[in-house]
Symmetry: C2
Subunit: 256 residues, 2 copies
């Protein structure tokens, strides 16, 4: 919870751009089903009157909804709600904010791809990949003994996970991991400073990092996957992120 609060203090009561408000309003109408797929939106002029803004602002809002796949426009015909709204892009959080209960679910998604990445990295890493991973590992080790380099530790932590993503030689997997990691940069920084350091969290994480590196270095895909799984579970626990869903009584083995 605290990490999320820390994220939320960025901006106070900025009204924000007018187009942002129009985007939010229209998207809400679409997601609520009030504007069903295939339905035609009011004309730009009418929307401008409804929201009391100029047509330029309405056009900017519709352009963004179009880019995200919520609406499609046809010159001369009008703007229509897409058949499957919002599937043109994948985003996280609402207007930059991430709720606490969402965090657990996002973390579970992150675990899925990072475990797969560790497995693939073990199978495909080159010498250069290994050197990059080890470099990040050693930088984190230095940050641990230095005691002052909290920010450096967080940066190296980020670099470690990115280096593994690179070693998969899969551009999309790489980019998705960077995308997810981007939204965790703040909480990662907290682990490496103040409260996190006192709780010895970086030392625990570092032991898990070393297991991951060792498995990837010797090309043991199954062990790399297990080590990544343990690390992600450990990270979730350190962040205070619980399980994302209910556990069924049976079939609970986590290692396949």
């Amino acid at each position: 919870m605290p990490p999320v609060e820390a994220l939320a203090i960025r901006e106070v009561d900025r009204p924000g751009r007018l187009s942002d408000q129009v985007v939010a309003a229209l998207r809400a109408h679409i997601e609520s089903g009030e504007l069903a797929p295939g339905a035609r939106l009011p004309t730009e002029q009418l929307l401008g009157e409804r929201f009391a803004v100029s047509r330029a602002v309405v056009r900017e809002a519709i352009a963004r909804l179009k880019a995200d796949g919520y609406v499609e426009t046809r010159q001369g015909a009008g703007a229509f709600v897409a058949a499957r709204p919002g599937l043109a892009s994948f985003r996280i959080g609402h207007e930059g904010r991430i709720e606490a209960r969402e965090l657990a679910q996002i973390f579970e998604l992150r675990a899925a791809v990072e475990v797969a990445a560790a497995r693939l990295a073990a199978e495909r890493r080159t010498r250069g990949d290994l050197a990059a991973i080890r470099a990040a590992l050693e930088q984190m080790a230095r940050a641990l003994v230095d005691g002052a380099g909290g920010a450096d530790g967080a940066v190296a932590d980020d670099a470690f996970h990115r280096a593994i993503a690179t070693a998969t030689h899969n551009a999309y997997l790489h980019r998705f991991i960077e995308f997810l990691g981007h939204h965790f940069s703040e909480s990662r920084r907290l682990s490496w400073t103040d409260a996190g350091r006192r709780a010895d969290q970086p030392h625990a994480a570092q032991r898990e990092h070393e297991r991951m590196y060792a498995a990837i270095a010797r090309g043991d895909a199954a062990a790399a996957a297990r080590a990544a799984e343990d690390h992600l579970r450990g990270s979730a626990a350190r962040l205070g992120v619980g399980s994302a869903g209910r556990r069924a009584p049976r079939g609970g083995q986590m290692h396949g």
Copy 2:
């Protein structure tokens, strides 16, 4: 600037919107590093003169780049390249087109999340979840015997995977699987029609689907993961999608 001229010549049958061309040109400049993170973009008026378009078009282009996290604007100061460009949203393909070599990598990403989803679905599925999965399974079975319902089969195939995603009770995992599946709808349709049917592809896929359902129904997470893995591997083979990266020889010797 030549890039704009080249774009205008390239598309004869579909000129495309002017703002799309400006977006593509600016994004290319950013991704190539020509416009480094933190650098200030030319003013809107200057960009309008360079691309020979009005300021309104430039503004629309910058609004989209801003939404995708490529640039940040500050009123009165200017527009600046973001520190980590493009990490505000995750997209697939360039302007709607997906290259063949990209398909293998995207499929690998999809496999990672769908296998994780099958595992979680086995742990968390409710009676209602199971009923939805079984309904899609039976609809595919009917499409197989009907012989004429190719389109229905593809729809049910989609529904099957979505129902499993729902059973994870993880909104983000669900949404990401829908996002990925959205870009595979065309190829899934092909498997269920004409060439795919003659090659008996739907029957092979159905056997894999049934294994997945059985494992999820009895709450066997490990078996569900294995069945999903086999199914995704089978789907990739049926689509003619090869491995996304090089496989290391057994024992994991390094190469490169």
